[in-house]
Symmetry: C2
């Protein structure tokens, strides 16, 4: 029996007809190497931006259901072109939208999670030795509504399909050659990793490293699907994400992530009730607002402040939800501070290396960077700082934690 593999091509890897043809050649090669191949595709390059632009010309806050209707066309265009490209090079192929591929999601628009996959249709196409091309990023609810999975959701589609089909691996073809210690576009000395554990990758993904969607990594971890991050342009070994990262380096910090466009919101003088935290964050969660770091601070016997960070683009909605619930929540007023960034260090070696957080703060203080918020876990430390200081902080931390590329390992791409 042939092994089934899943591969995913992101927007830049299918950005034009030439790139779609190149991706088709990779699918062909994978089939000729003796695999059954399921390929998940994103929308072509900037096509999603073009659709979003149309919507914004009509409405400042376009309806979420209709945004899903609109944006889900992007992958549908790519998948049909990909099949045409495969047929041109002699490979029988068939495309499926999210709903045709049996991808069932929860009934939430723009940020739905996959609840399950009915693989019958994909499986029977594989049984007929067809290359199967699936539209990433989208699914359908029980009641037949089209949903999308939110940013980077095509990765999740790919991993979920790999899990459901019990695939041997899931390759994520992208515009970088693998996972780096830090985003190489910013940190010039960033080094590519041969392997990384799910947990480390999860922290890096969650922290905005941007190579993989965090849900995709979580899915891969839960179903133990080996993930391979590799370049769609260069034929080069990628980075494998799997349970046990190889012991290539016993570093406390394996990688560094950062993201801009962070806003800190502070709700002042809230009553100190048992349900205060729950009320605040349930209200936000119901609207799908993605809250990151949360800090609670007592300001009196029966009063507290809550601060939390969100993506700046969700600020308007977050404020309007809090405003609407002002009476119920019982707070006095809200402040917010934007133009912030989050910088994080990640590594599973951290747990056995005390003082890593302290080192981080020292490096930042030497750079005269003011720290607005801190959050820690077993394998990461995150700080929220002014966005203007983001790049210099990243570079200083990358060097301080010994992540800079070594001469002998220098990437020549």
């Amino acid at each position: 029996m042939l092994a089934t593999i899943v591969q995913k091509f992101g927007g830049t890897s299918v950005g034009d007809v030439t790139k779609i043809k190149r991706a088709a050649e990779k699918v062909k090669a994978a089939m000729e190497a003796g695999n059954k191949v399921v390929t998940v595709v994103s929308a072509m390059g900037k096509s999603t931006d073009a659709l979003v632009g149309l919507a914004q010309d009509i409405s400042e806050h376009p309806d979420k259901r209709e945004m899903d209707m609109l944006l889900s066309t992007g992958e549908q265009v790519t998948m049909s072109l990909m099949v045409m490209a495969l047929k041109e090079i002699g490979i029988d192929a068939v495309s499926f939208t999210g709903w045709q591929a049996g991808i069932k999601t929860e009934p939430i628009h723009q940020n739905a999670r996959i609840m399950g996959i009915e693989t019958d249709r994909v499986q029977s196409a594989l049984d007929e030795n067809k290359a199967v091309i699936v539209a990433g990023f989208q699914g359908m609810t029980e009641s037949g509504e089209i949903t999308t999975l939110g940013r980077g959701g095509s990765d999740t589609t790919a991993v979920a399909l790999a899990a459901a089909l019990k695939a041997e691996s899931c390759s994520i073809f992208t515009d970088v050659t693998g996972v780096y210690t830090c985003d190489p576009r910013t940190a010039k000395k960033a080094r590519q990793l041969h392997s990384i554990s799910y947990d480390e990758m999860l922290e890096l993904a969650n922290l905005g490293a941007g190579v993989l969607h965090p849900r995709a990594v979580e899915f891969a971890k839960n179903y133990n699907v080996p993930l391979i991050v590799r370049s769609s342009m260069v034929d080069k070994e990628g980075t494998i994400v799997e349970e046990e990262a190889s012991m290539e380096q016993n570093l406390a910090v394996r990688g560094l992530a950062f993201e801009g466009a962070v806003t800190k919101i502070t709700i002042e003088h809230l009553p100190n009730n048992f349900n205060t935290m729950s009320n605040v964050f349930s209200a936000l969660a119901e609207s799908g607002i993605d809250v990151d770091i949360i800090i609670q601070q007592m300001t009196g016997k029966n009063e507290m402040n809550i601060s939390f960070s969100i993506h700046t683009h969700e600020l308007t909605e977050a404020l309007s939800i809090l405003e609407k619930n002002k009476e119920e929540l019982g707070y006095e007023h809200i402040r917010h501070e934007d133009n912030l960034a989050k910088v994080s260090i990640v590594g599973s070696g951290m747990v056995s290396n005390p003082g890593v957080a302290a080192n981080m703060f020292t490096v930042l203080s030497e750079q005269e960077v003011s720290i607005k918020m801190v959050s820690t876990s077993e394998i990461k430390v995150s700080v929220v700082i002014p966005e203007v200081d983001m790049v210099k902080s990243v570079e200083a931390l990358h060097t301080a934690f010994d992540l800079d590329v070594r001469e002998e390992a220098k990437v020549t791409s």
Copy 2:
């Protein structure tokens, strides 16, 4: 109980964001006039051409199933933008793709016919007083494959929905103000008709007048749905297509249609068997080749020639099918002649006016136009002529059959 009406906006009527907003205003007006409104939309202006262009960059003969996947995204984009535009002006609305609207088609790609409509989902949205926006041109087969209805299929979607919902009428908003005696872009003296019968419209639609899709007219006739053709730009009375055209004018010829890009194929020296005709045209029909005029001519005791006309864009496929079946069909060789056009005169008065065809031939002979094929029905006469003579023939016939606009009725648009 409120009346249900269906309206359809073609590609030029939703060609950009401004036009979509204008169409939304028309939907709002129809609802405020006390109707439940279902609106069928086409793909935005040239967006279908752009998608076809992408496909052709990849494949000379793109897979038909995948073309349906590709092209059906066009209406999905329009419908979601239309809902956003409606919500902006305070109208609650919801969009449905073809499959969500319950439009069931036969399992033929690129040219499927509607087999039935399950209206539950549309009806319950109407019951909630929502404006319902449906993607035209598309449907789904029993087995969950996306199909498209072929050229002008959005008209068919609109009429079929009107029939299924027992709507009071179906308005087709387009870039002309109504049905004319002839295409006013070519025949400068063309006159707008106040009304026209289904049969006359059917002949005109079939003959390439282009205002309405023939299947849409057929559907409207079969289910007795009054069709109104009107402008999306100008607020002006349109043309109503209904069972009994008003007796405004007792003309033998009510309209004139024409189309270019016609090719005549002649199969020479076929055996004169009972099943010869059936074999030839079944083979073509199975591949969805649209054969128009057919002429059979005996060339010997047991031999015949068959000539037929098709759209020039189907020539390659038609020839390859005939070539593939050469042995079975038993013919000697095939000739074809392109750069032809078809010109037709239509009118239900024709049946009681002998000599109409003869008049037509006389007019053409005065213009020194050579006639390649002739076809007649009770209410029309069609001729195939060189494409280069098309416009002058149309103009001469329009004048000869007294169709030219009269001074007092001149359209001021």
